[in-house]
Structure formats: structure tokens, C-alpha cells
Subunit: 287 residues, 6 copies
């Protein structure tokens, strides 16, 4: 009675590949099949019935890496589009999952991929939508001042203002030249991986509780992919002090949403992402 459905074919595309002369070694961006499954607690389960691969992403533009500023997100987004264009047209994928916390190039990638009926998902977008299924308002826990503002831009772009309680700044920034000498998220990730106490996790607990008590949050999402390791320990810590509240991260959310849309056989409306030229036009649009 059951249909022999082909497994979902999915390509995970990195936000950007570190430049060869990057100096920094940022583990988060070592996006390979090997490292991917360790990146987020639910990924092994989510990917177990998927035919998937990882593309490291387009090389980061020199001097604009890791991205935190609006300019850098715009550049990273445009850099990634040729990859999207080629892979969407290849016929090899049902879905492209755009890795990276700030969704560079997401809208444009959907426009490109819809021509081939290929699903595109992204980490902040998928988290916000999943969170809106779980409670009334989510708070974004995020790494730094400027990255927060990118998150604020995305909340608006995705029309989630009424479902976002706040953006809380943990201030453990990315390892960028501008933050030299400061403790960064990468160091905290490594510390946590080594089983050592992480100051960033402590701040995350403090800010999450403040978000629950002051901002009306009843769900959490994580702003930066370099901080996705917080998901499981933060949820656990909050549970221990009595707060039964889900914490999401972006890799799992984006993969899960991609599977859902592939399962439904839809990727995007052709009226929201028309072809070039469009098959048919409308006289009026409403804002």
C-alpha cells in the first residue's frame, strides 16, 4: 500500500568558505559531511533518510570574513548566488539548505531556485517559523551588537515582529579583526566541546531567563551558526531551573523545513517569485 517514495535529495551550502589566507580557523565553517552531523543535536536524525551532501560555500571576499556587518552579509549573499544557480539547475537536488545564521542571499536564492522547483531554506527563517509553531513569542539569543541588527533586519524581512519578543545580545562576537583581544564565540564553543565551563553558556542562561521574565519570550532561537552548540545545553539548563521552554538552532530547523516542503511538493509561489519574464502579470499588488 505504501508508495515507494524516492528519498529527499538535499544540498547543504555553507555561508562562505574561509579564504585560503584567512588566518583564522573557524571550526563552524568547516562544513563537510563529516563535521556536519556533529553540528547540531538533531541533524543525524533529520538526515538519516536523506540523500545529502555539503557544499562549502563560495569563497569569502577578502577582508569581509567572518561576516557581521550589513555590508558583509550583502557581499556574502551575492557571492553565494552562482553556487545556488548552478546547483538548482543541476537536477540533482530537491532542496538547497543555506547554512549560516544570517541567511545571506536567501530571497534571491529562492527566486533563482523556483525556476527549477527546488526548495530553498535558511537557518534564521526556518527557526523563526518553527518557533512560531511552538509558542507566542521567541527571543533571539545572539553573539554581538552588529549581528543583532542583522537579526533585527531579518525579523522585519520575514514579518515576524509580532512573534519576536526581543533580541538578546550575549556579546561573544565572532573572531574578527575588529574584536581582536576579546573572548569570542569560537573559543567558547571549543571550551564547551572540551567539557569545560563556558561563560557564554552562563550568559545565555541569564539572558534567556530575563527574556522569559521581562520580554514575554516562550521559545528561543539562536542568531549565529557559530553559537548553535548552545541549543542542547541551554535547553537543559533552563529545564533544570524550572523553565520548560524549547531552544532551536538553525541547521536542524532548515533541514526539517526543507524536508517538509519537499514532502508537500511545493517550494515557493510563482506570484511571489515570478519568472523572467513572468508568465502572467497582475495589475495591482497590495503592500
Amino acid at each position: 500500500m505504501l508508495m515507494m517514495a524516492a528519498p529527499c535529495r538535499m544540498l547543504l551550502i555553507g555561508a562562505y568558505a574561509p579564504p585560503a589566507d584567512g588566518g583564522l580557523t573557524l571550526g563552524t565553517f568547516a562544513n563537510s559531511r563529516e563535521t556536519m552531523l556533529g553540528n547540531a543535536a538533531r541533524l543525524p536524525v533529520l538526515l538519516h533518510d536523506v540523500e545529502w551532501d555539503v557544499h562549502p560555500g563560495a569563497p569569502a571576499s577578502p577582508g569581509f570574513w567572518p561576516v557581521e556587518m550589513r555590508e558583509e552579509f550583502a557581499i556574502a549573499g551575492v557571492n553565494r548566488l552562482p553556487v545556488v544557480r548552478q546547483e538548482a539547475a543541476s537536477g540533482r537536488w530537491d532542496a538547497l539548505v543555506l547554512l549560516g545564521g544570517g541567511d545571506p542571499g536567501f530571497l534571491e536564492a529562492r527566486e533563482i531556485a523556483h525556476r527549477h522547483r527546488v526548495v530553498v531554506t535558511a537557518c534564521a527563517h526556518a527557526q523563526m517559523h518553527a518557533a512560531s509553531l511552538l509558542g507566542r513569542r521567541f527571543t533571539i539569543l545572539d553573539v554581538s551588537e552588529n549581528h543583532n541588527l542583522r537579526m533585527a533586519d531579518l525579523v522585519q524581512l520575514y514579518r515576524m515582529e509580532d512573534r519576536c519578543a526581543s533580541i538578546r545580545n550575549l556579546e561573544f562576537p565572532l573572531p574578527r579583526a575588529a574584536h581582536e583581544g576579546r573572548i569570542n564565540v569560537q573559543q567558547e564553543a571549543e571550551r564547551h566541546a572540551r567539557g569545560e565551563p563556558s561563560a557564554m553558556l552562563e550568559v545565555a542562561v541569564t539572558e534567556a531567563v530575563a527574556a522569559i521574565e521581562e520580554d514575554g519570550a516562550d521559545c528561543f532561537i539562536l542568531g549565529c551558526s557559530a553559537a548553535y552548540w548552545l541549543q542542547a545545553p541551554l535547553q537543559q539548563r533552563l529545564a533544570e531551573i524550572g523553565w520548560d521552554v524549547p531552544v532551536l538552532e538553525g541547521y536542524g530547523a532548515a533541514v526539517a523545513q526543507a524536508k517538509m516542503l519537499v514532502g508537500l511538493g511545493v517550494d515557493a509561489s510563482g506570484l511571489a517569485f515570478p519568472a523572467d519574464p513572468p508568465r502572467r502579470t497582475r495589475r495591482r499588488k497590495l503592500p
Copy 2:
């Protein structure tokens, strides 16, 4: 490298089982494993890797069937809760999928099921959320005046006012005593199943085009489960006249959302659906 993940275990629960003395035989509600897979184009694909079963639903209260009025939805919702309570507690299911277009008992079912960390999804809710991933505004194509108002209530309950373009009334009502002598949605479903032309499908095309041109719709969902058969032919007809626009139906959407949430390991926020008594309380909530 792949984790051996157990398949998702899912129970589909009918909105209500027709009373033994129902008089009417409404095929839509013959929810069995056998009929279910024929109910919606994507269900076989979506269910192929799921361990699933169907519960026919609690018996409809005499005189309140099929439901269309607000009173009837309230009664059907409460009737279904003991089924939810028992199945959620049974340990046999990862998710309960509430069948039926108007989501009777959805919020209460989530409250009950969260105690057991069991996912609950429902057809209108799942469609609205899936639609909000595809475009900017969806229109609900629906069967009758009073059923439209239930849909309007749900749009508000799910805070989808800014993503709902309109509710369009096809006026092919359910086969209820109040509509005696009128052509109903059930007859149209059968006509279409026999390969005959359906006036309801023609009206759906007309209203969908009006929604695109006048209301700003770029996606469609269906209000009543008795009309879910419209999904594939309507999308096809719209494509033929140049409108590249997705049409969703509720069974597939609810199953797909359930799979996504089970995959992510979350069902609901305990702050939105606290236990009784709650583990911890908040001093203030924001509206």
C-alpha cells in the same frame, strides 16, 4: 555514519465519527487507513516512512453533524479531547494529527498532549503556516457562509491576519439539514471522482483568479476537509491559465508539519501550554 532513527509514529484522528443513525453518508469522514491515502495527492509520499494509523474520531453529538456553526465546532472539539487524552498518554505515538478543516479542539489538545511531549497538528493551522512559507498572503477557498466565519476565527486565533488575503466562499455547503435541496460539496466531490465536470471546481477557479487579481493572494489553502479534493485539479487549472501558484490541502500539511516537529524533537512551549500545576510561574505576561 547515518543514525538508525526509529520511524515517526503518528495517529490521524478524525474530526468526528458520523453517528450510527447519521442518515447521511459523508465519504470524507470515512477515515480509515484504506481511504486515507486516497484523500490527498501527497499523503502516500508523506506517510511512506511513517508508522501510522487512523482513529475515526469521537462520535458526533446527535443533531450537530456535519459541523458548520461555531457551536458545532465547540462541541466537536470537546468531544475529541478524551480521544486525545488517551492516545497522547498511551506512549504509542510521536504525533497526533487532528483531521478536519476547522481544527476543533486543537489548542486544548496541544495542552493535553504536551504533558507527554506528543506533537499535535491540525489542518487549517498547518496549511496557514505552510502557506506563509510560500508567499506573502494566502486566500482560503471555503464551502459556505458559516464555515467561512469559523475560518475567520481561526485566522485570528493563529495570528495570521496579515498573511491572509481573504476568505472566498464557494457556497457548496456540507450536506446538512439546513442546506437541504442544495448542491453540496459531497456531491461535487463524487462528481469529480467520477471524472465528470464539477461546478464547484469552476467556481473555485473563478474565485481563485479574483483573489489573485483583487485581494493580493499568492497562495491558496482549502477551508473544509470535504473540499480537499480540489487541491490538485485547482492548481492544475490555475497553471493552465498562467498562474503559477501553489494550492495546499490540510491532510498533507498537517502530516508534514507533524513530521517536521517530531524530527526537531519539539512539540510546544511549556510556557505557552504549562502543566497543571506549572513548574514555575511568571509575574507578567504580554498580550
Copy 3:
């Protein structure tokens, strides 16, 4: 010159009658003509020119009393509908006033009663509308975590998000099994009635001041009918410390609104609550 107008005929219907084997004796629910007039400071004035009576409400379902959870509100709402149905059809009443803080069954009761042009009002709904005449934003002072969430649901259902500053949790819950061993709202009511100091009143003052200073509240309403006794003493206490701010309670608000609507000769729009079948249908509804 003056018309000899017949006095308004009004039935006050309890949220639910305690089960015979209720164990608990919850004074609030002893809704008789005798106790009613003592329930709220303005009721004697408001009822002095009304022909009125009290219906104790449908018996509470075993194990679901007193109500605090969403499931319990749904059950209580459906339980009350047969009473509404019978009394609305009796021709004896111009208005039905649904007692109880959480408005169980309100929308459905209006649908039923509109067939007979009988006004229906409810306590939370009436308070929110009256408050919106007095200031810019009201805060709901309420008894417990889960009851707060019912209030939040009602704020949304009544589209009062932009007029509700916050819901403040006093955490003096109803005397339910789940709260055994805790000081409850009923004990505080009795304490206050005996002229003793009430800890709940003190918390109400503290939270009301916080709502004024932090949330932007300029009016207060009470969430649970078991706490309506707070109205006069809280307003008095706030005045004593310099805050000239009105406090409402639900019994008076619901009676006053009922009188207003009966005076205006309207109960509800037949387009919002159509008959079954409706006399006339619309092609489109807007969300």
C-alpha cells in the same frame, strides 16, 4: 412625553454549578439572587431597575472544576450552551449575562441567542470594552499562571492586543487539587470579608503600581470572578498613594453592557453570527 418602557429582563447564568460531590465549597459560585448583589459594589445600583434572576449554570463536569486550564474552559463553555439555548428561546429574557471570569462559551452563546435577538454579555469581554472607554491600556490582574493564559487568549480573541498593557499574575490560584496546600483566592476573599488584612490585596497593589510604572497601564480589570472582590479596595488603595485610576470587575461590567445593548435594541450583527442557513451569503470575507 416619556415612553413607558418595560424594564430590562435579564438572566445571569453561572459559569458552572459545583458538582454535588464537589468537596470544595467555593462561595463565589453560590450564584443566587441573594448572594449576587453582594458580589460587586455596583451591582445593586445596576440591577435596581432590572427584572432579573440567576441561573446557577450547568453542572461542572466531574474532575474539571474549578476551571483554570484551556481544556476546562472549553468543556465548561460547551456545558453551558444547552442552558443558553433554552433560555434564549424562552422569550423571557432581553439579555443573558454569562458569569465567570474567563467567558466560557461566549461566542457560541451569541450565535445561539442572536436567532432570538437576545443580548449576551460576558465578564472579561465587557470589562475590556469598558476599560477601552476609560484610558489607553488596561492591565489584567489575575489569579494564576494557567488562568493568565486563558486571559491572553481572550485578549486576542477580542482583538484587544493594542489596548492591553499586560497580564499580571498575583499567584493566588483557585482551590483546585493541583494547587493543594497553597493559599488560594477563596481564602483571601474570606479573609478580606472578615475585615482581616489580605496578602492578595497587597500583591495586587504592588503589581498594579508596577503595571502603571512599567507597562503603561492606566486602567485595571480583574481576570477571575473569584477575585472580583478586589475591585473596590484596590481602587481605594491606589487612590491613597496618588494613582487616580479605575478598577473594574466583571459582574458589573457585563450587566452594564447588557443594559446598554438592550437599550439600543441591538444584540449582534447577523453577518458576524449568521443563521443556519444564512438568509444571504457573501462571496468574500476579509480577515
Copy 4:
């Protein structure tokens, strides 16, 4: 058992008294006890248990009568304040009802009257609030282009944008110099009073039906007091063609709301209308 409550004492204050050399004789503004009871269908019922009187209003400023422009509304509002000031301070009234469709001076009058705990109501404000009890969205049927814009200003001032479906312009303006030679609302009122067919009533039916079918209206209010005579015949006509929809007018709505607030013992929040100087101040206000 019943309290001997003193009857409500209410002064109805005209928007402005026609200047002695007004030239025009506009019956609507002949606000005396005698004419008042004939002005609106429900007034005799609503006033039967009230001790009431009528104040003709402050004399209109020369050249600014009847009012239609924003400037004229501002002048009429300020002109009326000395009357409000004196009557509110007199101790003779529980409530002041501000007559006139465009509510000149309403906010300022409430500020003044709150010092004496005297209720103030106004016709557009009271209609909008009553309408929001009856359905989801009201349409304002109104007399002319500029008067429409005053109504739009009031919809915003009263934060009713989400409850107002539209303002429909009947284009039967007030008998002002600017409209010389055109058929005006006064002539239509007289025609209707004489039992003759009124073109304005026909236009009102047409626009009301358009508002139901196109704008999503499920309730109607009237913009200009000179058009309040439309209430009963318009509701009747709509019922005859199958639309079960309430029509309100401002005199009844304002009187009924005044009675309700007097019954509840509240007039306005002292935080929304502080004294001069205020008893206590707040550090922060939210918009």
C-alpha cells in the same frame, strides 16, 4: 432588596447653536427637550428613566456654520468648552452628552469633566464602540467629502482602524454656502419626514450593500447627526433584501454609553486625563 438608586442626571449639549443671523434653518440643530425625543428611534426608551435636559450649545462662530472642515470642527470644539466647564462644575449632572456627529471638543471636554468625575460621551465615539460589540468591522455612512475626512481623523483618534471597514460617502452635504444649489441632507431629512421617497436613503442602501460585499462591513454607523434619521429605515431596507445587519446612530449610542458609565461609577482614567497639576507623575509613557 433593591437599592433605591437615584436616576441618572444627564445634560445633552448641542454641537453649536445656529447664529441668530444664520439665515439657514437647520432642524437638526433645534436641540430642545421637545425635538430631541423625535431625533432617534431609541431615545425615548433610553431617556425614560433619566433626568435630562438639553443645552443648545455655544453659538457657532460667524461664517463657520454648519461645520464640515477641519478648521470648523476645531473652532466648534473650543467654543463648546466653556459650556462643558460650567456644567461639569455645577454638580447638577452625572453625564454630559456631546451632540453632533463629529465630536467637536470631546477629548478636551473629558479632561475638564474628569476633575468633577462627570462622564462625557460623544456620538461618533459611542457609535464606534457600540459597533465594535456587534461585529468585526463597521462602515461609516457619511454626508460629504470633507466630513468623511473628519470621520477618518476620528477613526484614528479612537484607534478604530482595525474595526472600521470603510467610510462611504453619500454626497448629500450639509446646507452650507459652499454647497449652494446642491441637494443637501436637510432637504432629504424633510422629504423622508413627509413620507416621500428619499434619494439619499436609496444611495445609503446602495453604499451599504457595497460595503457589505466589497469592504467586509458587518455593521453600520452614521457620520453626521443631520443624517441620523437614516438609522431605522436603512436597517429596515437592508433586512428586506436579506442583510441582517445593525445600523446605529449617534444620539442613542452616546446616551446609552453615558448611562453605562454612570452605572459603573467611572468616567475616565486619571492617568489618561491627569489633573492640573497631576497628583502623581510617571517617568515613562508608552505610545
Copy 5:
């Protein structure tokens, strides 16, 4: 190649001229060409290429000066209209700049002046619009409780709720009888002008920082023209503690907006401010 454009001709009109027997001498209102250029840091630059003059404003009504209450703002607004009427009709001005922090008479003045295609700007309106170009949300720093509420009314009137973070009350009121014996904004202005430390400036810094940290403000505007001297020192002080945030004041903002509109050759839409009678009418308006 450059067009020889005539310089912009602009009249600055005071909110009200102090009454001859005013008792108080409020320097802020000594609006003459001589004092004007000292009133705000940017005015000399902004006016250097403008042909401008100052009108002291209509005399304040006895007993209603300086204005703080809603009633007083209404009176001051109507008092100013004859000045606006005469000057707009004179042909001597391209723009009228309405001085005063609370914009008395602004909407009505625009209605009058549009007949002559003369631009009208006002201080709160211009600040809010300029602020909305600079960041996401502005906070209004303002002088007193009742003046705050006028500001709140204007935020709503100008539909700026979503761009206004808060109104912060410095509580240095105007030198009115009601505030006798309190330190007022005028004294603080003089203290600051003498180079002495100002307690008001200190409070402004404290509240501005609170607005940044608690309310989400990223820009500041000043509520009362008597406090516009705070602009430069407050911006400087905030910069010194690390907050790179603009502070606006109303005189400069209103002059700059006037120049912009004159440059664009537009003053107001004739559909928002129709003539009397209007040239053409619309059947429907949307709220």
C-alpha cells in the same frame, strides 16, 4: 546651467504671544528675528539662504498660558488659525513654520494653507519624521506629565506608534500657576545659558540612557520648545559616554522640512485636505 531660483520665503509663527498681563516672562516665547537664531544650534545654517521673518503668534487666551493641558492646546491652536489664514493668503510666503513643541493648530493650518499651495510645518511633526529617517525608534524627552500626554496624542495623530519607543518625562514643567514653587524648564534653560550645571540636563542624560537600554530608542526628539536648548549638550553628553545617537529639536526640524517641501514644489495632497467645496469627490475612503 544653474537655474536662478528665488530664495525660499518663510514665516515662523509663534505658538502664542504671552498676554500683556502675563506676569511670567518666558524667554522661549520671545520669538523675534533676533532671538530666533540663538534658539537652536542649526537655525543659522538652515536660515542663511532663506528670506524669513517671525510672527509672535496670536495672543494667548487669558488664564491658558503657558499651555500644557489638552484644552489649552486646543485653544492655542484655534487662536493661531486667523494668523495662518491671513499670512497664507498674503502671497508673501512659500512656507509657514508653526513654532511650539505641541503643534497647536497644525492639521487645520494645513487645510487652510493648501488653498494657497503654502507649505506648513510644525515642530513635533517635523522631528518625528526626521527621526524616522535616522533610526528605528525615537524617544521623546519631555517636560511634564500632561505635556507628555499631548505628545502621546501627537504620536498617534501622526501614526508614529511603531516608530516611537517611549515618552520619557523629565518633570521640569513649564512655569505655570499649577506648578508654582517647583523648579521649571525656564529656570534650567537660564541656568544652562549662564554656563551653570543644569539638573534638567542630568535627568535628560539619565532618561536617554534608560530609553536606549530599556525602550529600544536609537534617536531622541524633544517634546517642548522650552526644552530645545537640550539638543546640543545632550547629544554631546551621550557621545561622551559612548552612545553615538542623534538628538533633534523642533525649530531646526520644522525649518528644514519646510525647505525640503518648498524645494519639491509640494505642500499637501488635495485629497487629504480638500477645498471647500472639493473639486471632485470619492465614493469611499479607507481608514
Copy 6:
């Protein structure tokens, strides 16, 4: 008495320079000092006291010109940033005016330029803000289906949903390969320049009237810089048929806004566009 203020120094930067092998010759993009003054009716007046120059913009990427798709706007935006970076840092300019109807790179350019306190304005943004000073709701008249969607994205990005009545599609697209064989906006511009009747102008009149009558528009802005020539003739045509309604275009609006901000001495909030690294950070942001 007047300050000798230095004239404003302003650089106008083209959206993109046509590629050398562009094939097409699109006059609109011939942005030189010579052609600029003829581009928009008010530019000569607005620029007469400005020291200004024109930068042709970064070369368009091969195959992505002229831009209409989201992908193309993203690429053009990133291409322009090095020009912005260099010119903002040069110390030669008070303001950079980004030419082009769809504002490519606007947000990122502001982030870059704020480091140097240089004002940046853009054509759609400036028009929307100017329009919001003139009336309640503007309609965007625009050239093609996909360009409309870019406009819709900008309406949301600039939080103008509540001030935008609609986007009306004139369907005279840009001369792109995708539209080969169709009459394009460039041809219509040339036709109009030659004094011949333009079908595009006729459609603009039709759609503008529909927007007034159906959408509630009371002001117009133009979506694409290639259509800015419509400004004067469209306003004239609407006036001839009785609609007193302003029409804006982007070059004038962006220049006028730049002059206003330079006059006020502000460019952007450092909290909305922080430095890298920021001088000071906030713990929480609100969406």
C-alpha cells in the same frame, strides 16, 4: 546676522553604468551633470545652491542589466558599495545620493557612510518619506511585474505598509532581453520627449484614478527611475480631471532629503548603524 554657511556638497551616484558591450542604449542611465538637470522637473531648483557632481555608478555585471529581478538588485547593490566606500571616505561630500528607482545597496551604503558622517539618500526611500508628509497613503506606479515586487520588498523594508495604498503595474518594462519585442518604458520616454502621445502616460492616468477610487491613494510616487519623466505630465493630467493630488519622482526627492539632513547636521543613528566594532553595546534590542 546670517551665518556664511558653506554650500552643501553632494555626489549623485548612478545605480550602475551600462556595460561597454551593453548593446542597449538606455538614456536614463546616461547620468552626467549635463543630462541630470533634465531628468526631473525640480532638479534645477533643488541643485541650484549645491556643489554637486555625478558618478556614473559601478559597471553593471554582465548579463544582469538593466535590473528588474531580486538577484539583479542584490548584485547591483553590492557592486555600488566600493564607490560608496571611496567617496564617503574622500572628505569631498556632505551627502551621497544613490540614483535608481529600487535603491540597490542603500542600507549597506548608510552603514559605510555613517563612519564618515556622510548622508546617504535613495530614490524610493526618499519618495516614500516625502509622500508620508503629504497625505495618508501613496500608491507606487511602476513598470513591470518583477520590479513591482522589488517595490513591495522596499515598502516592507522601510516599514511603510500602513502608508502604502498599493503598487500599480503599468507593464511597460525595462528594455531587457526577457521583454524583447514588447514596448518598453524607454521607448515611451522618448515618445513623450518628442511630444508624441504616450500610451504609458495614458495607462498611468487610468491606474492612478483607479488607485484613488479603489485603493485609497492620495499621493503618487514612481517606482522606476526610467519612468520618472511621468511626474509632471501625470500630475497635470490628474489635475485636469479634477484630482488635486501630488506626484513625486525619486531624483528630486532624494536630493531634497539629502539637503534637509545635511542642513540638520545628522545622517543616521549610530545605534542603528554601529561602527565596527561598536563603541558601546546594548544588552537587548526590540524587534
